[in-house]
């Protein structure tokens, strides 16, 4: 019960950080700071995929509505990430990791593998997000630049949140 409450608080905090980032952290047209992928990545691994997709959809929709963005954009990207989350984890980590890691934190899985895993997850998220956002209106170079810069910036953000939150909890 206590564990569930803690998890809820963790996700609520991430959601609030996301809303604050979307409303106030405008870092230019090429970088979209976003900790929503972290919410999806940190959903417990024992969770059924369809349930993860529903939770990701709900969180994405909440961000879209509360941040005055295009409704459905973050939701679509979150659902896509939730759909591939488990196969992606299985590709990067061993079965032992999969069984032990209820939440795949950097402490549970190892630094380099964790960074790779987070980066690919962010890449999937931002491919869907940027493609739906630009819908072919931007040039390929601009789209790729947005993709690379957003992935790099968010990787730093995600690792920072990951380190501070779970390190402090330890």
């Amino acid at each position: 019960m206590k564990d569930n409450w803690g998890r809820f608080m963790f996700f609520a905090t991430l959601l609030i950080i996301q809303i604050v980032l979307s409303k106030y952290a405008n870092v230019g047209p090429y970088i979209y700071l976003c900790c929503l992928p972290l919410i999806v990545i940190y959903l417990p691994l024992y969770q059924e995929t369809f349930l993860s997709m529903l939770i990701a959809f709900g969180c994405g929709l909440a961000v879209d509505v509360l941040c005055d963005g295009i409704v459905g954009l973050n939701a679509a990207a979150s659902v896509a990430l939730a759909a591939v989350r488990k196969p992606l984890f299985a590709a990067f980590f061993t079965r032992d990791n999969l069984e032990r890691a209820v939440i795949p934190t950097i402490h549970e899985t190892g630094v380099m593998r964790h960074i790779n895993y987070i980066f690919i997850s962010l890449l999937i998220y931002f491919i869907v997000y940027i493609c739906l956002d630009s819908v072919g209106m931007e040039s390929l170079q601009t789209t790729l630049l947005r993709l690379v810069l957003s992935c790099a910036a968010n990787l730093v953000l995600v690792l920072a949140i990951d380190y501070f939150m779970f390190n402090s909890r330890r």
Binding site: T49, V71, G72, A76, A83, V135
Partner: protein, 274 residues
């Protein structure tokens, strides 16, 4: 949930994923003009591609019907062509045969042989369709054979690829005519004999039916000269490359001379008189 078979779980995941993504796309399209324009454009493009494919499949299945219509159209055009030919050939005659001297009927080959010295074919039209013995069988690429026997629904055709069959043919350039015969070796070649030395034939000249029989109408192109060979200093023997490919033959036209009965009776009377 974990007790469900893997296949069911995958199916549920796919259905939920598609449903949620479609829902997202609908929301995006409803909330942004640019996205709506692009998403609807993509949907319409996919729709058009699907319709195009569907219509292509539909066309494929109606090919047989289309083919029949085309064959019928060919027959009608051939009739019209004959009528115009007859009219232009006899401009000063008071009477012109209303539909030309020859009538055409489309038929399909049911069975045929090609590798023998005496080849034949079976076509799917018989006495019920008005076919009788002695009618010619042609295509737009040349002569095919002559009907030898007829049943109610089928006819037996002696193929041109028969060493005992010969057809009267002429050089279109000079109007010299001779007998065209298959030599029994190459189904793409025939020999035109009894052509006089001064005919002026050259390799590449076209050979067509002469019209000197009541079986085949004149001017059906048969082939081109590929080799010229003098025979005993009096005549030429011309090797002809046939236009007709007997290996790919499926549809033919039965050609009937409308005055044939009259011609036959006259020939018979003349024969008896002598």
């Amino acid at each position: 949930m974990t007790g469900r078979p893997a296949l069911v779980r995958i199916a549920i995941n796919i259905v939920v994923f598609i449903a949620l993504e479609v829902l997202c796309l609908v929301m995006i399209a409803n909330n942004s003009v640019v996205q709506r324009y692009k998403i609807l454009g993509a949907i319409r493009e996919a729709q058009s591609a699907l319709w195009h494919r569907t219509s292509e499949i539909g066309s494929y299945f109606s090919l047989k019907k289309d083919n029949r219509l085309l064959v019928q159209e060919n027959v009608d055009l051939q009739r019209q062509l004959n009528m115009y030919k007859a009219m232009s050939a006899k401009p000063d005659t008071a009477f012109v045969h209303p539909a030309g001297l020859y009538s055409y009927m489309a038929a399909d080959i049911v069975k045929s042989t090609r590798g023998k010295q005496h080849n034949y074919m079976l076509i799917d039209k018989g006495t019920r369709a008005g076919v009788s013995e002695g009618m010619g069988v042609v295509t737009a690429n040349g002569i095919v054979g002559i009907i030898d026997a007829v049943s109610d629904n089928y006819s037996y055709v002696i193929s041109f690829l028969n060493t005992e069959q010969s057809v009267s043919a002429r050089l279109t350039k000079s109007d010299h005519f001779g007998l065209l015969r298959w030599e029994g070796v190459n189904p793409h070649k025939a020999t035109l004999t009894e052509i006089s030395l001064n005919c002026g034939a050259a390799v590449g000249d076209t050979v067509a039916t002469s019209g000197h029989s009541s079986i085949f109408p004149a001017d059906i192109p048969i082939g081109v000269i590929s080799k010229i060979k003098p025979v005993s200093g009096l005549y030429l023997s011309l090797e002809i490359d046939l236009f007709q490919d007997f290996n790919s033959l499926r549809h033919v036209y039965i050609v009937a001379n409308k005055d044939r009965k009259e011609i036959d009776e006259l020939e018979l009377e003349e024969g008896e008189g002598r």
